[in-house]
């Protein structure tokens, strides 16, 4: 903080004049936005805790509710798909398998949904105070990470209870998988949150798309089913090009011990390499997304 003199009538601001507004160039602009967000990291922390706390403030069960949804989903898929449709017969520890996939998916879908609405929901703030607007989608990401962590703890406890503790070399897939999902989802959330300001249809469209895309990743069915259906074709490559699919697969590889050590399960070749490439691509996507956001954000205050 600059020195300020407190003497009456002699307040001094030792700061040079700075041009306000965004620099839209690629290198410098991105860097300046990063610095600005970093300067507001305390605010970011407060916004995340606001999102998390305010959500369950008035319910007596509080945070437990955030677990109800994935647990209900788990029950549905376990009974309907695992038992009735018989998927559990070829997938060992079906409950862990589904819950692993759901954990990865809910991180992704929550970032997208909450992120898309973040600017519009905070319109009161956007119109009244200047803070780097990236803060709002990022706060949504932060709150989603918190929910993910809670769910992840449940997953770990479940594996321990079932005696399938994920203590093996494949655990290295876990950070890759989380990083991949985070970069991809954050990039999308940034762009979608800005677009949603101009076109409110986006938030409804996203809800539908997420519903569809849920089935485009091996969450309630295993990769083996996909491979036996479209194995070796271009379609399979397209299927595997989806960063969410790779993220889910990586998560399963790490957390679903009975599957990753089962020779009858199918795992795509060079999964780690595919994930690394996807992370790099998503990183670039994130940079582009930030530039797009930066362009669009200049008119937020008047469009909201």
């Amino acid at each position: 903080m600059p020195e300020r003199s407190g003497a009456e009538g002699a307040r001094v601001v030792n700061e040079p004049l700075r041009r306000i507004g965004r620099d839209n160039s690629l290198g410098r602009g991105t860097w300046m936005s990063l610095v600005e967000v970093f300067d507001h990291r305390e605010l970011l922390g407060r916004l995340v805790s606001r999102e998390v706390r305010a959500k369950y403030k008035n319910s007596s069960l509080g945070i437990v509710w955030s677990l109800m949804r994935p647990l209900a989903q788990l029950l549905i898929y376990y009974v309907a798909i695992g038992q009735f449709l018989g998927a559990a017969r070829s997938i060992p520890d079906f409950a862990i398998f589904v819950f692993t996939g759901l954990t990865a998916w809910s991180l992704y879908s929550e970032i997208i949904t909450a992120g898309t609405n973040s600017i519009v929901n905070n319109s009161g703030l956007v119109k009244k105070v200047y803070v780097p607007r990236e803060i709002f989608p990022l706060a949504a990401v932060g709150a989603s990470i918190f929910n993910f962590l809670v769910q992840f703890v449940i997953l770990v406890v479940a594996t321990l209870v079932l005696g399938q503790a994920p203590l093996h070399a494949d655990l290295a897939y876990l950070p890759l998988s989380v990083l991949l999902i985070l970069t991809f989802a954050t990039a999308l959330a940034l762009v979608l949150s800005a677009l949603n300001v101009y076109l409110r249809d986006v938030q409804h469209l996203i809800e539908i798309l997420l519903l569809v895309l849920f089935w485009a990743s091996p969450i309630v069915y295993s990769m083996g089913f996909v491979h036996s259906a479209i194995g070796g074709t271009v379609l399979e490559e397209i299927y595997l090009a989806n960063p969410v699919t790779l993220g889910v697969l990586g998560m399963q590889k790490a957390m679903w011990v009975s599957g990753s050590e089962d020779p009858t399960q199918y795992w795509p070749e060079f999964l780690w390499l595919r994930m690394l490439i996807a992370i790099v691509v998503c990183g670039i996507l994130l940079l582009v997304a930030q530039r797009v956001f930066s362009r669009l954000q200049s008119n937020f205050a008047q469009e909201l």
């Binding site: 407060r46 009244k128 105070v129 200047y130 076109l199 249809d201 008047q302």
Partner: protein
């Protein structure tokens, strides 16, 4: 002068108004997109420099661009063209409590709002007690803010903003909230800020407030700066603007077609000698004669009178024939009704006269507004809504 705190160079702000908002509309009317957009310039080549320690009032009528300018300075809206330079910490009192979350406690909201204004947790900790003290919230600080009264809400928000140690405080029409003691407290705080050499930019419709605190006034009209300088002239420029608008409105108003029972043709203002008043301001103590020229078309019971109001519309004086106990003739014809106001001592530079007539039951029949204006000389001694030939003495008290 040293380097300014804010420098605005040839700033333009163009708003594009979309009339369609949904995807359906945009697809359906793709071809006629240009028709659904209309542009308007909220700011039109505005250049300003604001130095350290100044208190600047931004005034202008609704839609003149003053709030837009404030938002451009605050960085909330980006200018379409031109540059804005600024230094130091800014706190915007644009809308108090914008960052409050109803479900969180007052304490959590204080920290959140302080963070929005750029304060770190350590800085907030240091002034937290002062914030609570100033707001007068007391023990309620730990209850959820949705249970607060709107006054408490605003007090807490204002309190956070003024404790954020800003170099530049942006205030937009927010001081009108809160009860009277709190408003007084706010104004005192603003004066303190002035003494501490902080810079304040205030948007207000209240000329009294602006005249009270500002050292400089910028008048905006249609996005242009029409006056930048001393406060008195600024307020006069603004009032002339109001009057010009009203006159323009008068001309465009459609004429009454049907004959009402009473018509007020005109009002004559004259001095004590019976001569019409010229343009010169009247000195204190002048007798004023006001004559309403009315035309009675139908034999009814009627009352006529006039009112004097300030250019801002505040009623200053009202008088009618009923109050004077005059018997009004009911025979149709033309009448002159003369009122005499002896020894006027109004403290306003300008009063607007309007004349009207009602029927016996008080239903308005005719209105002539404005019917004329009265200009008064400035009070050389005191200030206020009235003026007196006041005097005073100093007497030493010998014990």
């Amino acid at each position: 002068m040293a380097e300014p705190l804010v420098r605005i160079e040839h700033v333009f702000k163009r708003f594009v108004l979309h009339k369609d908002k949904s995807l359906k509309d945009r697809v359906l009317y793709w071809g006629s997109r240009s028709k659904s957009r209309s542009e308007f310039h909220a700011l039109d080549d505005v250049s300003l420099e604001i130095g350290l320690g100044e208190t600047v009032g931004l005034i202008g009528h609704n839609g003149s661009g003053k709030s837009t300018l404030l938002k451009v300075i605050g960085g909330i809206i980006e200018a379409s063209r031109g540059d804005v330079f600024r230094r130091g910490r800014v706190a915007a009192l644009l809308e108090l409590g914008a960052g409050f979350h109803p479900d969180l406690s007052g304490r959590e909201n204080v920290y959140l709002n302080a963070a929005l204004l750029g304060m770190s947790t350590a800085e907030t900790d240091a002034v937290f007690d002062d914030i609570v003290e100033f707001s007068g919230i007391g023990e309620f600080i730990d209850s959820q803010v949705k249970f607060y009264s709107s006054g408490m809400y605003v007090r807490l928000a204002f309190s956070v903003a003024v404790h954020s140690d800003p170099d530049l405080l942006l205030v937009d029409e927010v001081l009108a909230v809160g009860d009277e003691p709190f408003q007084l407290k706010c104004m005192n705080k603003i004066r303190n800020f002035q003494k501490e050499g902080r810079t304040i930019i205030l948007v207000s419709h209240s000329s009294e407030q602006v005249a009270d605190v500002c050292t400089r006034v910028v008048v905006l009209d249609g996005g242009r700066v029409v006056h930048d300088g001393d406060v008195g002239t600024g307020i006069r420029v603004l009032r002339e603007g109001y009057e010009r608008d009203r006159l323009a409105g008068e001309e465009h108003a459609p004429g009454e077609s049907a004959h009402p029972a009473v018509e007020i043709d005109s009002v004559t203002l004259s001095g004590p000698d019976g001569r019409p008043l010229g343009g010169a301001p009247l000195p204190r103590g002048t007798d004023v004669e006001l004559t309403i020229h009315a035309h009675l078309h139908e034999p009814i019971e009627w009352v006529t009178g006039f009112s004097l109001h300030s250019t801002l519309g505040q009623i200053v004086y009202r008088l009618n024939t009923e109050g004077l106990g005059l018997d009004m003739p009911t025979v149709p014809g033309r009448y002159d009704i003369r009122f005499v106001i002896p020894a006027t001592n109004f403290g306003f530079n300008r009063l607007v006269v309007s004349a009207g007539a009602t029927d016996g039951g008080g239903e308005p029949i005719a209105l002539l507004d404005p019917a004329g204006t009265l200009d008064f000389a400035d009070d050389p001694i005191g200030a206020g809504v009235v003026q007196f030939e006041a005097s005073g003495t100093v007497t030493p008290i010998v014990a």
